[in-house]
Structures are given as C-alpha cells and as structure tokens.
C-alpha cells in the first residue's frame, strides 16, 4: 500500500484521521501507533517484528544509558552495543548476499571459497530509514542532547510513524518525537494544507515521474542499442524522474503528517538551483545529508585524532593542507556510507566515491577559484556566472544519476564511455525520442508539468509561497485552482491501461 495508491489515500489515511479524531486526546498517540504498525504489517507482514524488536531494543538501551553519567565508559559502551546491533541487523538483511557474492568472486580466483550459496533474506520495508533514526536517538541520548525517553509509545512512533515508514524523511529525535505524542486536535487548516500538498505530490509523481518510466526503463535496459546523445538523455530523464518521484512522495508524506498537525523535516529545497555539488547535497535528500553531517562528519572532524592531525598539519604544511586533509578524512566515511546506504551494489558505492571526489576537488580548488575571480575581476554573483554554475551542477547531477540508475557499475561505465562517441544532437528532433514508448503527447505533458514545477520552485527560491498566496484568494478562485490540480492528476496522470508506473524508488533502498 504505497502512499500514491488510492487504498492509502482514500481508505487508510481518512480512516486513521477519523479514528484519531474520535480518540480522546490523551490516547491519540496509541491510535497513531496502532495505525503505524498496522500500516507496516500491511506492507511487510510479519517482518513488523524487526521494527518492534528495534523499538524495544533502542527503548531499553536508552533507559539503561540514563543510569550512567555523561561521557562515562558504560554509557558509551551501551551506545556502542546499540549501534553495532542496529547496523549489524541492517548489514545482515541487506548486505549478506552482497558479501557472499564478493567472497565467491574472490574464491573463484583461487582460494576455493566460491560455492557459498546465497541466503533468502526478506527485507522489511524502510529498515534503512528507521535504523538511521534509531542510531540518531541513541547518539543524542549518549551525547546528552536528548534525555532517555520513558514513553515507549513515543520511541515507537518516532521510529515507525506510518507516513515515514517507506521513504523517510530521516528525522532526528528532537525534530519530531514530542509532536507525535501530543495528541494535537485536528484542524481544518492543517487538513486542507496537507491535502493540497498531497495532490501536489501526486501531480509530480503521476504526471512526470510515472510517465517518464517507460523511456527510462527502455534506455537503461537497452543502453547498448543507443548512441551517446541518447545515453546522455537517459541521465537527464532519470534525474528528472527521481526528483519528481522522490520529492513528490515526500510531499505526500509531509502532507499526510501535516493533517495530524505534525511537521516533518523537509527533504528537498529546490535542488536544481544549486551552484555547486556541495550545495546540491544541502538541498537534495536533506535529512540524509543532515544525518551524515551530524553523526559522521562532525564526530570525525572533532575527534582527537583529527584535532591532533590538524595541529600537526597546520604547523608542518600550512593551513591549506590541514583544511584539505581534514576535509578528506571526514568526507571519505560520509560518502562511502552514503553510497553503501543506498544498497549493496557497486554502482551505489561508485556514486558515493564520485561525490567524494567532486566535493574534495571543490575544497582543493578553492584557492584557484578565488584567484580566478580576483584576476579576472568577475563577480561570482553576476547572472551569467550564476547560470553557468547552475548548468555545470546539472551536468554533475545528470552524470551521477546515470551511474546511480545503471544496471550495475559495468553498465554505468559503458554508458558513460558511449557519451563521448557517436554523439548525435539530432536525436533530439529526428524522432529517436518517440521510439522510447512515449508519444508527442506524453512529452507535451512532461514538458508542461516540469515547467509548472520549475515555476513553483523558482517562486519558492525567491521566498514566494504559492499556496500561501492561493489561500489569500476568495473561495471560488481557491477551489477552482484545487479542482484544476486534482483534474490534472486524474486526466493527465500516467496510470491505468498502458502505463507501468514507477514503484516508490527510495522505498527500495
């Protein structure tokens, strides 16, 4: 029961809202928890035990940690046991077969271990997301930034709140936990705004992401049959599809929570207006970026080893080398983790390394960049450079997403190589695009839909919030706009006969 499907939108969500409304305020958290676990059960059946087990484990560890003073060895040890247990489980369910495959590959090269059979392990939905939230809770308690929670229901809701189950956002304990158990009454404004956000999410997903699915599938599956320009287009299409899909689902998720008066953290902030790769990652899948920054980057940069190295390097090699090396020390685990977190595939690991290299290059080339602006007298704030930097970032994004979506690293590398030969720009108008399972009308919907989202994002970038403006209009105008949005989805959405809609992409990670 994915968030974009009618059983969720027309039955499950309204039913939970009604049950929530009918429950006395003090018991509403139990209604939310029961609904969340029912939702999880409907998606993953008995694998719900993983979530419940994680919740009990983390809850008890939190209580045990409380008994020891901050920074004490037992407290740290308990936190360490917790993190090892959580990541151990994640590694077991998601990565066992990946490691077996590696061992077998190495084995076939001479060690004789090449016959270890793969295991049939069922992966519970959202384990990558709730595991990070559970680790976040333990670390926050360990560091004393959050107290151990005595309310089991709150911990359970923090890890399993149903709109977040499949794709996050990955909240920090302080972001959402208290809101989840407040039992806030339902307010018409929240329900209205949440519903509009849900329809907006459906617009992005069903008009653009789902419609692009046939073309993306065709290009990535049969990449050997296409020349360079079409391969380049595959990267553009997938980046567009992923943005519309993931941000669209996030709109549905955040809109669903908003109906209950719960504010979840945003996961996107107009990422295609980024001027650098680093900025892109501050705007794209924000909550994963924040998690990595908070629980990997900062602990590494503030560790004793890093401090010692910094002191030594500054003295011996100067400030620049110290800065660059410390950055490399912290970025390497962040990006290795980011790549691996997406799943046990070499192209995801490559994707992490790709951004590690790019971000490190940004650090290394900083003095060159400053020198360039100084010598030429150009202002980096001029519209030309602004646009140039945005387009350059697009190239980085499209290339990265091509590797990310490719059917394996080998396919990704082959696709990348093919961009540099047989590049025929004429593919854009010679009819090649119409052989990807999409007709001219499909492209018209994709272009108009993307233009609508672009204008919306552009206004948001300029701090103009469309729905706030709409809410100030008179009722007939407001309703007419909402009806237009609903009917755009109903009529122009890519669903039903002849369409293969894309499954929730991030739910697979």
């Amino acid at each position: 029961m994915a968030y974009n499907q009618l059983p969720y939108l027309a039955i499950f969500l309204p039913a939970v809202l009604i049950a929530y409304k009918l429950t006395p305020a003090a018991y509403r958290k139990y209604t939310l928890l029961a609904s969340s676990w029912i939702y999880f059960y409907l998606c993953s059946q008995y694998l719900l035990l993983y979530l419940v087990g994680t919740t009990v484990f983390v809850y008890l560890l939190g209580l045990a940690m409380e008994k020891f003073p901050l920074k004490s060895a037992p407290r740290k040890a308990l936190c360490g046991i917790g993190i090892a247990g959580l990541f151990g489980t994640l590694l077991y369910v998601k990565y066992t077969n990946f490691f077996i495959k590696i061992i077998n590959t190495i084995g076939s090269a001479g060690t004789g271990w090449h016959n270890i059979p793969g295991l049939h392990i069922l992966v519970p939905i959202g384990i990558s997301f709730y595991t990070l939230e559970a680790v976040s809770y333990l670390l926050e308690v360990d560091w004393g930034r959050a107290g151990s929670d005595h309310d089991f229901c709150r911990v359970a809701l923090f890890l399993g709140f149903f709109p977040q189950t499949m794709e996050g956002p990955i909240a920090r304990y302080q972001d959402t936990a208290m809101q989840l158990t407040q039992g806030e009454d339902l307010h018409l404004n929240n329900i209205r705004d949440g519903a509009i956000r849900i329809v907006w999410g459906l617009f992005k997903k069903m008009l653009i992401a789902d419609r692009l699915n046939t073309a993306v599938g065709t290009l990535f599956t049969n990449y050997t049959q296409y020349h360079g320009s079409m391969i380049a287009i595959s990267g553009v299409f997938y980046a567009l599809q992923l943005y519309m899909e993931f941000s669209g689902v996030m709109d549905i998720v955040i809109g669903s929570a908003q109906m209950f008066g719960i504010k979840l953290p945003e996961n996107f902030r107009q990422p295609f207006f980024s001027q650098t790769a680093a900025e892109f990652w501050r705007r794209w899948h924000i909550t994963l970026g924040v998690w990595c920054k908070t629980y990997i980057f900062y602990p590494v940069t503030t560790s004793d080893a890093a401090k010692k190295w910094n002191k030594f390097a500054r003295k011996k090699y100067g400030k620049y080398i110290a800065k660059v090396t410390i950055s490399a020390m912290a970025l390497a685990p962040v990006w290795m983790f980011n790549g691996l977190w997406h799943g046990p595939q070499w192209n995801y690991i490559f994707y992490g390394i790709y951004y590690l290299v790019l971000l490190e290059l940004e650090e290394v080339l900083e003095p060159v960049k400053k020198g360039f602006y100084k010598k030429t007298g150009l202002s980096k704030d001029s519209w030309f450079w602004h646009l140039f930097r945005i387009l350059r970032t697009w190239l980085i994004i499209f290339t990265g997403e091509m590797f990310f979506r490719a059917n394996g690293l080998r396919a990704g590398l082959a696709m990348f190589r093919s961009i540099f030969y047989q590049f025929h720009i004429s593919s854009m108008w010679d009819g090649s695009l119409l052989k990807l399972g999409l007709d001219a009308w499909d492209f018209a919907v994709i272009i108009l839909g993307t233009a609508t989202v672009f204008v919306y994002d552009l206004l948001k970038e300029k701090d103009i919030h469309v729905w706030e403006l709409v809410s100030q209009k008179k009722t007939p105008v407001r309703w007419a706009l909402v009806y237009c949005l609903v009917f755009a989805v109903v009529i122009f959405g890519a669903y039903g006969a002849g369409y293969q809609k894309v499954d929730l992409i991030y739910a697979g990670f």
Binding site: P7, I11, T475, I491
Partner: protein, 339 residues
C-alpha cells in the same frame, strides 16, 4: 453559540467542496465514457478496448462468454467456434486481467448479453499477490465503475489524432503466428501432492461470478490453458480442490495437452507462456466438442447472424494460412536444429 455556527459553516463548506468535486467527476466521467464508446484507437484504448468491443456486440447475440487474462484470448477462437459449430462467443479477456476485472467484465457483458456458458480461464485466479493486492484490485475496479474517467482518462490523447491504430480483434481473439517453442517441458505437470491455494479475496470474487451465472442460468466452467510457464500440478491441485468445494466444472487442458496434440516446439509463440494460432486451433476444437455436447444453438445460416458467416469465413482463411506458415516455420526450425 458562535462556535457552533462556525462549525456548521465549516461543515457546509467541506460538504460543498466534495459535492462539487463529485459532480465534476461525474460530468468528466460521462464525457470520457462517451468518447470511449466511439474510440477505435487501440494505441490509446489499450487493454480497455475489449470492453468497448463487448459493449458494441448486438444485444443477446453471445452464447458463450470467455473471461480471463491473456491465456483466455490465446486458447479460444470465437470465429472458429462459429465457423465449425455455429456457436456465438466473445472473449472478454485482457492482458493481466485480475479477478476484480474479470467480475467487472462479466457485469459489463450482462448489461447486453445472456450467455448460456461462461468459460473462465484460471490464470486470473492466481494473479493477486495476496489479499491486500486483491482488495486494491477490487477498490480500483469499483472506483472506475463509479467514475469511468479513471479508466478512460487517457482518451484526451485522441485530440487531433489522425492516424489511429484501429482495433484488430476477432471477437476478442488476437491472431498470432509467431513460433518460439519451449526449450524444455521436463518438469511440466510433474506429480505432486502440494496444493497452491487461491486467496480468499479471489475465492470471494469467484463466488460472486458463480452466483451471477446462476442468476442468469449460465453454466460456469473453469479451465486452465495449456501453458508450461504458468501451470504446474500444485496449481492444478489447488484449482481442482476449489472447483470441487464450489461445485464448478473444471477442465485442465494441461493434463490433456498430449491428447489435444499440442506440439510444444511449434504451437507456442513465447516458449510455453501462450499458444499461437496453431495451438489455439487445437484447444478451440476441444471446446467446440464440449460446447456442442451442451446443446448450444447452431446459428449458421440464420439471417440474423449473417455477419458472423462472412467474418468467420474470412477468419478461417487467415488462420489456415497462419497454421501452414507455423508448420513450415516449425519444420524449418526442426531441420536447422537437426543439422
């Protein structure tokens, strides 16, 4: 008092908003449904086209209705049934048709037809991925029944379209003379006591279909198309058990494949997933004998069915050519593999 007044006003506004929404959905549904009735563009209608063809059939002209997924329209050929036995039939099968859609298709048929026999191909009974998926299918079908715009929304693409791909179907049967034989049938229908159960949501849908057939006096027959890719003894056992419990006739053509003369090297178009014209000819011959035994009327020569005479003659000449082609392709492949 003021609060109550405000609450009333909010309630009224919500009701008004949804009433208008429902009204707009009804209006657009009517518009799209009418468009669908006149649409013959297969590229847009896709799997919905069979429903429109079914609705376009002359009232009370169909004696045998065939339901199911792609296995249905690759096993029963209505024109052959007519040509050789004068039996009028229609295959209301769709690619990937699930049981909720099968039930819907029966409802559509019953609006204009009173079939005497309903043949239900059983692959649809295993289509849902569990009860949850079955519920989702039912919900989607019900929604499309209330608001057909959800089913025919894609017809906006017809605007300004000149070169439409006209639906080519012989009362639901799709001609196909490709040959791609089975690589192996070693484990096909190997004996086992295992039973593959049909989900209770699907059983419920089957129960409804059975009841509807009973209400109009039609005989419901379950049948499994010969298909090494889709069938095994586990499924056969599950279906036989279900048929016994529900007291429905069940014919498993997988157990009769040899008797029917199915040659898995030539009679399948996709390595044992579906039959081609040669395979379908043989299964249709079998159904002809079953249906004739049930005493269905032979309409040949009846002036009211003159069109059937002309169409079936045309169809048979095409099919005979296709079968000859398949046999020569099969012979060619056999020669090539023996070299």
């Amino acid at each position: 008092m003021e609060k109550k007044h405000r609450n009333d006003s909010v309630g009224l506004r919500i009701t008004a908003f949804f009433l208008i929404l429902v009204l707009l959905l009804m209006i657009t549904s009517q518009a799209f449904f009418r468009l669908a009735l006149y649409s013959s563009d297969n590229k847009i209608m896709k799997r919905n086209s069979v429903e429109m063809l079914l609705m376009a059939q002359k009232k009370d002209s169909i004696d045998v209705l065939v339901l199911g997924d792609s296995e249905s329209y690759t096993t029963v050929s209505p024109m052959q049934l007519y040509s050789e036995g004068g039996i009028t039939s229609f295959v209301a099968g769709q690619p990937g048709q699930n049981m909720a859609e099968t039930l819907h298709m029966l409802n559509v048929a019953l609006q204009t037809q009173k079939p005497k026999v309903v043949l239900l191909e059983t692959d649809a009974l295993y289509r849902d991925g569990g009860s949850g998926s079955g519920f989702k299918d039912i919900f989607n079908v019900r929604l499309s029944e209330v608001f057909p715009v959800f089913q025919y929304h894609n017809l906006w693409k017809q605007i300004g379209r000149k070169n439409s791909a006209v639906i080519k179907s012989w009362n639901g049967y799709h001609i196909n003379y490709n040959v791609d034989g089975c690589i192996t049938t070693k484990n096909y229908m190997r004996q086992t006591d295992k039973v593959k159960q049909v989900s209770w949501v699907t059983q419920k849908a089957l129960g409804e279909i059975q009841q509807k057939c009973k209400d109009i006096g039609a005989k419901l027959i379950l049948y499994s198309a010969p298909s090494p890719k889709n069938y095994n003894m586990e499924k056969h056992n599950g279906l036989q058990e279900l048929a016994d419990v529900k007291n429905i006739t069940y014919i498993d053509l997988n157990l009769k494949a040899d008797k029917l003369g199915i040659d898995w090297s030539t009679d399948t178009r996709d390595q044992g997933d579906h039959l081609n014209d040669a395979g379908a000819y043989k299964t249709t011959e079998y159904f002809l004998s079953v249906l004739q035994d049930m005493g269905l009327t032979d309409h040949r020569g009846d002036s009211a069915y003159a069109k059937w005479d002309t169409r079936s003659a045309k169809f048979m000449s095409i099919i005979e050519g296709n079968i000859a082609q398949i046999q020569s392709d099969g012979q060619g492949q056999a020669n090539a593999s023996s070299k």
